[in-house]
Every structure is written in C-alpha cells, then in structure tokens.
Symmetry: C2
Subunit: 260 residues, 2 copies
C-alpha cells in the first residue's frame, strides 16, 4: 500500500524573527495540501524577554547553558507566546493548527543531556516520538505545530534543538507516512560561496557532504543541521530539502536536496 505523504517543515532564523516574513510564510503553509506538521525554533524573542527581565545568559566555554530561570523563559516564549501566536495566525488562515510541546500527550520524550565535560543544564536529548497520538491528530485534520520544548516524564521541561525535533518527528512518523522534511531558513539553500546568495548547491549526497566539510564549505552552525538531515534520511525519511520560505510554494527550483 502506498503511504500518504506527510510534510514536516521547520522554520527558524529570520523567518521567525521578522513578523511580516513569519505571517507570509504561515499563509503559504496554510495553503499546503495534505497532512503536515510545523516545527518552529525560538529566535530572538527569548533573548529579548530574558534581557527585559534582567537575566544574564549563562555561558560555559562559549556555550549557552539552560539554567532554571532560562528554561522558564524559553518555555514562556517558545511554548507560550510564539507557539500560540503561530497557531492563532494559522487558525486565522483556515489551517486547523494545534500548538504542542513535547510534554503534551508525551509527544516527545527526552532526557537531560548527560554531563560529560560541560553541564548544559536543562537541555534535552530526544529519546522517543509518540507517533500514535500525532497520527490521531493528523487523521482528525489537525496540523501539529511543535515548539522546541520537551520533557523527561519526571516533571522536568527541557530546552531542545528545533532542528532535532523536526528530524526526530520526521523519523518517528516514517513508519506510517512517506515523510518529507523541509528546513526553511533565510538562505536559498546550502551555498557554494557564502558571498553569493544564489550559489545554491542543488544536490548533496553523503560523499559530496564529506567533500564540502573537508573544503570548509559546510562549517559551524551548518554542521549539526546537516547531521540532522543525513540522520533523518538514514532512518527512513524519504526526502530532505533546505531552502528559504519560497521552498514550500513550489515557486522556486532553487534549494538544496539531500540524498544518501
């Protein structure tokens, strides 16, 4: 039996920081046919609220640490303000969105990151996705909208990487659906030359990936993103694309497709 296609779209960066860009994206998203899931990052708002509340970001060796005050702020901003603003806007566009965090119906179970050299505090690493309840929602024409907050089933909320959420949800739904994972951000795709915004590498397979890493074309923040992409493909996701907001409108052929 052919599986139904499920689109998972992750937004972050400028798409979420700029209200106009966000609403324009949400309009396009609401018009996508078929079952779909939105995953959103946090963006600048958490930093703004933290500063307004007089909290200092806690850093160890240049890495941000999620202390108790921070996990409260990100829960407020990601699961509260952003998640509900996005959900309300999608409802306004006629898309039956439901905002969710990982704790809701135990959708995404995680554990507090194991302390090796650095204690990242209340940062969560994903253990399991509750595909059954997510499927119940999809079958009832509900569009889940996930923020990047998970829990440990012992009462603790955890701050989690939104790319990882998107990747794990896609993998989790792959037994039931033909899953397509789309990472939407401010660039048109993975760039050959960072100075040239149109120098999109149209296709990257595992071999090409190794080459691009060796050449330093893929570096820094793109490394964990690409790791998530290939991990998804290896674990059953059928298609992964990276591009800007025009990606989901099919109005562009300019984006990066990943294959293994």
């Amino acid at each position: 039996m052919t599986k139904q296609t499920l689109q998972i779209i992750k937004i972050g960066g400028n798409v979420i920081n700029n209200e106009e860009a966000l609403f324009s994206f949400l309009k396009d998203f609401s018009e996508l046919k078929g079952p779909k899931i939105l995953v959103h990052g946090g963006g600048k708002k958490a930093t703004e609220v933290s500063s307004a509340m007089g909290l200092q970001p806690k850093m160890i060796n240049g890495r941000r640490v999620t202390d108790e005050a921070t996990v409260e702020v990100v829960t407020m901003v990601y699961a509260g303000l952003l998640n509900k603003k996005i959900t309300a806007k999608l409802q306004g566009f006629g898309c039956n969105a439901m905002g969710l965090s990982g704790t809701d119906a135990n959708c995404i179970l995680a554990h507090k990151r194991i302390v090796k050299d650095i204690d990242y505090g209340f940062a969560g690493d994903v253990d399991a996705v509750n595909s059954e309840i997510i499927n119940v929602l999809l079958q009832n024409n509900v569009t889940p909208v996930f923020c990047a907050i998970t829990h440990d089933k012992k009462g603790q909320l955890l701050n989690t990487n939104a790319d990882t959420i998107a990747s794990e949800v896609s993998i989790g739904m792959s037994s039931m659906y033909n899953t397509e994972l789309n990472f939407v951000f401010e660039l048109k795709g993975v760039l050959e030359n960072i100075e040239d915004k149109d120098s999109v590498i149209k296709e990257i397979n595992s071999e090409k990936y190794e080459e691009l890493v060796a050449r330093g074309i893929i570096a820094d923040g793109m490394l964990p993103k690409m790791h998530n992409c290939f991990n998804s493909l290896k674990k059953g996701v059928s298609k992964v694309k990276i591009g800007d907001a025009s990606l989901i409108k099919n109005s562009t052929k300019l984006y990066t497709t990943l294959t293994i």
Copy 2:
C-alpha cells in the same frame, strides 16, 4: 444509554500560586479515575513577570485592561510556563496530560469583548467549544489541560476568565458526557460567615442563591463564579461543586453543592 461521567476541575487562587499546594493537587488529580479535564487560572505569576519586564498594569475605572503587551505576557505565562509546567508534572505522575489553549485545534472560539462603557482590550468572551476534537482526545486517553487563553479565529489571542472556560467546556461536553464541574480554590466552599472557614453552606439552589445575594453573603468575586455555576447547571451540566483541594479526593464531605 447511560453517558460516561466526565469530571472538569478548575483550579485557581492559592492552589496555583503555591508550588507545593499545586503539586500535591496534581498528584491527587492524576489519580482520579475516568475521563477528566483540568482548567487552570493564571495566579500571581503573570503580575510577577509583568513587573520584572517593567510593564505597568493598565486600569480603567479600577478594572484591569488587557492591552497588547499584557496579552503577550499572559500568553507566555498561562499558555507557556504554567500550562507546560502543570502538564509535565502530570506526565510525571502518570497522567497523559495535554496542555491546550483555546486556539489549539480551535478548541475554544471567542470574540473580543464588545466595547460598551469600557474597552477591556483583548479580553475574550466565549462563543463555542469544539467538543468533537476534545472528545477525540478523551477517547484516546488524553487529559486536556486548558489555560485561559482563547482566540477569535482571525489570528488574535484573547485573555479569558478561567471560571468561564471551565463552565463553557463543561456545557460543551454535556451532550456527550454526564459532566461534573468542580471549582477548587482556597476555601472549603461558600461560607455563611467569612470569618469562620468551616461555616460551609452545603447546598445552594437558585432560591437560596437569591437569598444569599440579598443578605450580602455572596458578593464581589463570588458573584461571577456563582453565575458561571448556575449557568452551567441550566445548560446541561449535571453537578457543580465548590471546595478546596481535598474536594477531588472524596476525603471530605465539606464542600458546597449547587443545584437548580
């Protein structure tokens, strides 16, 4: 056919402000058998976050007005921090809770309160409860946990009275379930004498209610609460009780039952 009993429990006041009292209540709630829904108010936390962010509460004629900054803060605190903290804690106690606001799957549709003498800003009056999707959740052993944020289906989030949410959800579910609505707060029930915390009036019917209002026994904040109670009973809710946290443990016989 006998309808299944659905318990709707609303918590507010000291039960939500004191973390120890809250967690103790949530433990008891998690042990309740059968389908159930939790509705929570906001408590002091929103005021604390507002102050920390340097926002001044906007008042007109002594009534709080929900301006744009305030609706953002209450969405953060009610739908984010409190809702997810409660949900995570319930998950920790083995209750399959799902935190929801009215915008999620359009569960609770409202409109911005019509301006008569006072413009209350982004305050919502409830129009409809989406009993079908709530029933889907209940039938999948999910326990909905509602905060007091609704939406207008045009993209706007609205601050809504939590007692009203509890009442409207109970009424909405009454066609499918035998609904029992419980208001849990810091007192043991409606008191004959406010100085004597044990002077609980065990039963109040419409006639007795009129008498208590005339005598000034029921006044101020209790008036809208009682209005919600009687409105619920008139519109199909089978039982309404008011009491403290011990109410749901059946360990006490001291609470107020309302009848029409």
